[in-house]
């Protein structure tokens, strides 16, 4: 019997939701297991780094790596998986565009460490002890990975072949992606394995989206009773649909929650945050500075809202500090 193709899963800075989405394949996962050998999957199987190191270069058909890269350990593992795999898929928002961990790019490294180890309300650390990269205790050496200055998406660290977007990707997209890869009919390198359209295009409430919105206030979903049949933007709710790639089939929208942008932008958009800012702000009703500012003040956190999943791949990448931060 010829060897089955080898598949690996790995996680970097992530929450575990992407692993969950693999399990969400439900009984289809049996077809996957029947078709491939899983050679690495830290959340579910007991393979170690040394097992991967022992494999021949390029012997894994595809590695699905989720999570952003924040530490030297994640960087090292990403590079190892790259070396051992023919194909790397950046799986989920964090690997694709930086994701929620990427929001930390609004703060400097020192600022973050100081808060976590000294200032946060639940911390008791009078000696201000911080983790060391290397500690020698009882004659043995213990090392910890380094914490980088900024959060990166996977392709800012290693070469990535394909992207599966979403927080997390839907089981349907994962299944389609695996089928395509196992069939050998590979898409063009660099492809995002989801339709290249804006979410509005496949939105179940699309027909009720007016051509001109005339915002006077951006409302938050819990302030109001949402009409399930009407475009959320038309109801004054900030929805990222216009600047977000489709493919999720509007799962949040169908639950009357606005899109928060997890699929990243379609290919013609370079900077998702700038684009949704443009789309929303230009349709404010007021024409004078004061009126405009009053309406826009109802978006309390533009960076966190517009770049919720994509700050590390935005044009500015992180907050600009005069020092290295």
């Amino acid at each position: 019997m010829p060897d089955k193709p080898k598949v690996a899963f790995y996680w970097c800075a992530s929450c575990g939701g992407c692993e969950e989405s693999v399990v969400d394949l439900a009984e289809s996962i049996l077809d996957v297991v029947a078709a491939v050998d899983i050679v690495m999957w830290p959340v579910a199987m007991d393979f170690k780094k040394k097992d991967v190191e022992a494999m021949a270069d390029g012997s894994i058909l595809v590695s699905l790596v989720n999570g952003a890269v924040r530490t030297s350990e994640q960087e090292e593992m990403a590079k190892l998986m790259r070396k051992k795999s023919k194909l790397i898929i950046a799986y989920g928002s964090c690997a694709h565009t930086g994701g929620i961990p990427g929001l930390a790019n609004q703060f400097g490294r020192e600022e973050l460490l100081r808060y976590i180890y000294e200032e946060s309300p639940s911390t008791v650390n009078p000696q201000k002890t911080r983790p060391e990269l290397k500690v020698i205790a009882n004659g043995s050496t213990v090392t910890l990975p380094n914490f980088f200055n900024i959060v990166r998406a996977l392709d800012q660290v290693i070469d990535v072949d394909y992207y599966l977007p979403g927080c997390p990707p839907t089981p349907k997209l994962l299944k389609q992606a695996l089928e395509v890869l196992l069939s050998g009919k590979l898409p063009e390198k660099g492809a995002v394995l989801a339709p290249d359209i804006a979410l509005c295009d496949e939105c179940p409430k699309k027909d009720t989206k007016p051509s001109d919105l005339k915002f006077t206030e951006f409302k938050r979903p819990h302030w109001m009773q949402i009409d399930p049949k009407v475009c959320l933007l038309a109801q004054g709710i900030l929805c990222m649909g216009p600047a977000t790639r489709g493919g999720c089939e509007g799962v949040c929208i169908s639950g009357n929650m606005p899109c928060t942008g997890c699929f990243g932008p379609p290919s013609r958009i370079k900077d998702q945050g700038a684009k949704i800012l443009s789309a929303l702000a230009s349709q404010v009703e007021a024409k004078d500075e004061k009126g405009i500012d009053e309406t826009l003040a109802t978006i309390p956190d533009p960076v966190g809202t517009f770049y919720r999943y994509g700050l590390p791949v935005s044009l500015l990448r992180r907050k600009n500090f005069n020092s290295t931060g």
Partner: protein, 169 residues
Amino acid sequence: MPTVEQPKENSWEPRIIAFFCNWCTYTAADLAGVSRLRYAPNARIIRVMCSGRVDPQFILDAFSKGADGVLIGGCHPGDCHYMEGNYKALRRMQLLKRMMKDMGIEEKRFRLEWISASEGERVKTVINEMTDQVRALGPLGLPKKFAEWDKELESLEHEVNGKRDTIHA
């Protein structure tokens, strides 16, 4: 002796990208030229059909590629050749200004100005003022910063492709 002269630290000059609308501000800049007005040579003018054509992506792109300041010039409110374009520009820029502040880019690096076709003198004043303000702030230098940030990734390059060694000595 180096054959190419390296720019000296104190020889830095602000680089300002100016998006001027075809109907008003670009025409005013033309008028400033025809009238032989002298103003700072620091603005690189890009002609667009309308200030409403200036996508916020253009502005962030300019900064990320090395601009120290971005200036947008459009028609006065009510005078837009396309009726509403300048209002759209104003609304976008009000929010973009707030967002850029959150991203650590000083407010004075960015300016939206209404300059009609007859206001050649105003082009001169605005470009001079902005050049002075940006000069006072110093270089933004994002491309250089991007390169510096990514230096932290180089240290491990040899690690996977070569021998294992102590990494964090």
